[in-house]
């Protein structure tokens, strides 16, 4: 079972990333892609209780942003930030168990895959209410500040969330309290079926940072190293007590919003354009140019991932569902019967 371990060292700029690290980024993105594909197969076979929001095309954001976070840092994923899970160390088996909702799921199946939290790994469960994690992240960062530790909160959300009151109130509060939080907007140009332009009258959500007197930056979300650098800079700023940053990663989801959605009305040219900007290929080419990875190496990674997926899925499928009684636990610190009604 591979569980990614946090990095101990302090280097941060991309130039300081060794070949091993770059290859690790590549592996994480590829794992995300292959896992999504496998999960969608399961969904097509009606073997998932609900489904999942495929992250294919957006892998660079979660991997780049979380790659060098530390223990004690907290990540608040959006409904699509699957790669935050891998990158912070969730295992393939855990992820399969989570999408199956079986007893091996971190929450015994109480909550869905994309709203699962892994507190041991510094991941909070996201809400199904788009944007709700933004004020929550401010609170996490505020607690970090109160404790005088130099951790950070990294909060992911989609372009759709940027139209919500929570975005406004959350960023305003973060700036006023000067808390160590990095807001990572994954602008994949759509919210569900609707083009981002229907939701925002401006081109760049990053420009909204000005309303909160915080730095805002547009980032190439298909280039994992660009994401890595931008987040590292923002994280360093946050750790130094200089407050929050808004990063907008321009990206694209290669697949539909959700497996059950009947139609994908996005223009084929647009899909084709972005498919050419596959974050995995982009890093792959870079690694090849640097001589860090050749075709054989990629095949080996693919094979290892395939094996891990196979093994984990097998183990997952052998895992029972939690006893129905567990549906009634952990509502309160006490049993629900203690509520007297």
């Amino acid at each position: 079972m591979t569980r990614r371990q946090p990095l101990a060292d302090e280097m941060s700029h991309r130039d300081a990333l060794t070949a091993d690290y770059l290859r690790e980024m590549y592996r994480l993105m590829l794992l995300g892609r292959r896992f999504t594909e496998r999960a969608l197969e399961l969904a097509a076979e009606q073997r998932l209780p609900v489904g999942m929001h495929p992250s294919a095309g957006q892998e660079a954001v979660g991997v780049g942003a979380c790659f060098r976070l530390r223990p004690g840092d907290w990540v608040l994923p959006s409904l699509r930030t699957t790669e935050a899970f891998w990158t912070r160390g969730v295992t393939v088996l855990q992820m399969f168990n989570a999408i199956m909702g079986n007893a091996g799921s971190v929450n015994a199946g109480k909550e869905s895959f994309h709203h699962s939290g892994y507190p041991d790994l510094g991941i909070l469960a996201g809400s199904a209410i788009v944007g709700a994690q933004i004020p929550q992240a401010v609170g996490v960062a505020w607690a970090i500040k109160m404790k005088r530790i130099d951790n950070v909160a990294v909060c992911f959300f989609g372009d759709g969330a940027a139209g919500r009151g929570d975005f406004h109130e959350g960023l305003n509060l973060a700036s006023l309290l000067k808390v160590p939080v990095v807001f990572v907007c994954e602008n994949n140009l759509y919210f569900q079926t609707v083009p981002a332009a229907v939701g925002q009258p401006i081109e760049d959500i990053a420009d909204r940072a000005a309303s909160y007197a915080m730095p805002g930056q547009v980032v190439d979300g298909q280039d994992v190293l660009a994401v890595y650098d931008a987040v590292q800079t923002a994280v360093a700023r946050a750790r130094a007590g200089e407050g929050p940053t808004l990063l907008e990663c321009k990206t694209y989801r290669f697949l539909g919003h959700y497996p059950s959605m009947l139609r994908d009305d996005r223009p084929p040219e647009e899909i084709a354009h972005w498919t050419k900007r596959d974050p995995i290929s982009i890093l792959g080419r870079h690694l090849e140019e640097l001589g860090h990875q050749d075709g054989a190496a990629v095949e080996a990674v693919e094979a290892a991932i395939a094996k891990e997926l196979d093994d984990s899925l097998r183990e997952c499928e052998a895992t029972p569902f939690a006893d129905a009684k567990q549906a009634f636990t952990n509502v309160y610190g006490e049993p629900i019967e203690a509520m007297g009604l």
Binding site: G101, A324, A327
Partner: protein, 324 residues
């Protein structure tokens, strides 16, 4: 009579009323281009155009408030919340700006808007909430809970024509229910319960997806010689108290079934209404409530099933009232 799906019945009601009354417009996320995540507003954009069928950003609070403003100006907006749990982000515009406008203007203004809110009970703790009791608690709001295609059509039209804000609750599990629905434009009345099945031993009051569960239970119990009367109130506000009292006066036994959490659910209000009437002295058994026993709705299928009430839970409750 022609039979159609409940989903299509709502759509037909909306469309026919929109043809009749050009002040009716649809507002919500993914409702125009895509036709609604659950397909209810399919084809509306094509027929009524982008002025009357408007895709919204993710701003439920904002567009609910906007709908209130538009309704005050005489439009009849029908807004879609993608799932009932989303009502939590729009409570202020709905229950304050919306529900109180008539009162604070002492009748000089009104807010004829409809909030379509689908219960999606097999999602997760956030989405899968049944919050009708919150709205029933708010003076100024009406709450409509159809369970058949014909009622869904008649009540969506009545909701649009109603001069006050209406929470129109839909249910994902009922969209595919097929039933006879008149082709012409018609309204179903508010505040008139429907006796889905007559019986003499036990009264069961149920709404939304609890109606088929209650009905299935009643069928099974009939085979065992137990005669159950199933009452579907169809609207919770206004509520047809008389229908329930009449039935309980006859049966002396009452079971209330809903998917919402039991504590604070609208079932308590119905039980209290009966306990607050002279019928209380006719009760032969304590009033039973079959509902979510008090947990967030879990995701995984088997856990989800354990929390939501089903036919077997209804059967067990009916038998408890019979002391068996």
């Amino acid at each position: 009579m022609r039979e159609i799906e409940l989903r299509a019945a709502i759509r037909e009601g909306l469309a026919q009323e929109m043809r009749r009354d050009e002040t009716v417009c649809l507002v919500g996320e993914d409702i125009a281009r895509y036709g609604g995540i659950l397909g209810v507003t399919e084809g509306m954009l094509e027929e009524f155009g982008p002025e009357r069928v408007v895709d919204m950003p993710i701003s439920e609070a904002g567009f609910a408030g906007m709908a209130v403003g538009a309704a005050l100006m005489g439009l009849r907006p029908v807004i879609e919340m993608q799932f009932t749990g989303l009502l939590t982000v729009a409570m202020d515009p709905l229950v304050n700006t919306g529900a109180k406008a008539r009162y604070v203007h002492d009748g000089a203004m009104s807010v004829p808007m409809v909030v379509r809110s689908p219960h999606m009970m097999h999602g997760n703790a956030y989405m899968s909430q049944a919050l009708e009791a919150w709205f029933a608690h708010i003076p100024g709001f009406k709450v409509v809970t159809p369970s058949t295609p014909a009622d869904a059509k008649g009540l969506i039209v009545a909701s649009i024509r109603d001069p006050d804000p209406v929470l129109f609750v839909e249910h994902e599990d009922l969209y595919a229910t097929i039933g006879p629905v008149p082709e012409e434009l018609f309204t179903a009345p508010f505040g008139e319960a429907c006796v889905r099945r007559e019986g003499v031993d036990v009264t069961v009051v149920a709404w939304l997806a609890a109606v088929p569960a209650a009905d299935a239970a009643a069928g099974e119990l009939a085979a065992q010689g137990i005669s159950v009367e199933v009452i579907d109130p169809r609207t919770l506000v206004p509520f047809d108290s008389e229908a329930v009292l009449r039935s309980v006066r006859k049966t002396g036994r009452l079971v209330i079934v809903h998917e919402a959490v039991r504590r604070g659910g609208f079932g308590g209000e119905i039980a209290a209404m009966v306990a607050g009437s002279d019928v209380v002295s006719k009760l032969k058994a304590p009033i039973e409530r079959v509902a979510n026993p008090g947990v967030s709705v879990p995701h995984a299928k088997h856990l989800n099933r354990a929390v939501l009430p089903d036919k077997d839970d209804v059967i067990a409750a009916v038998k408890r009232t019979l002391g068996s």
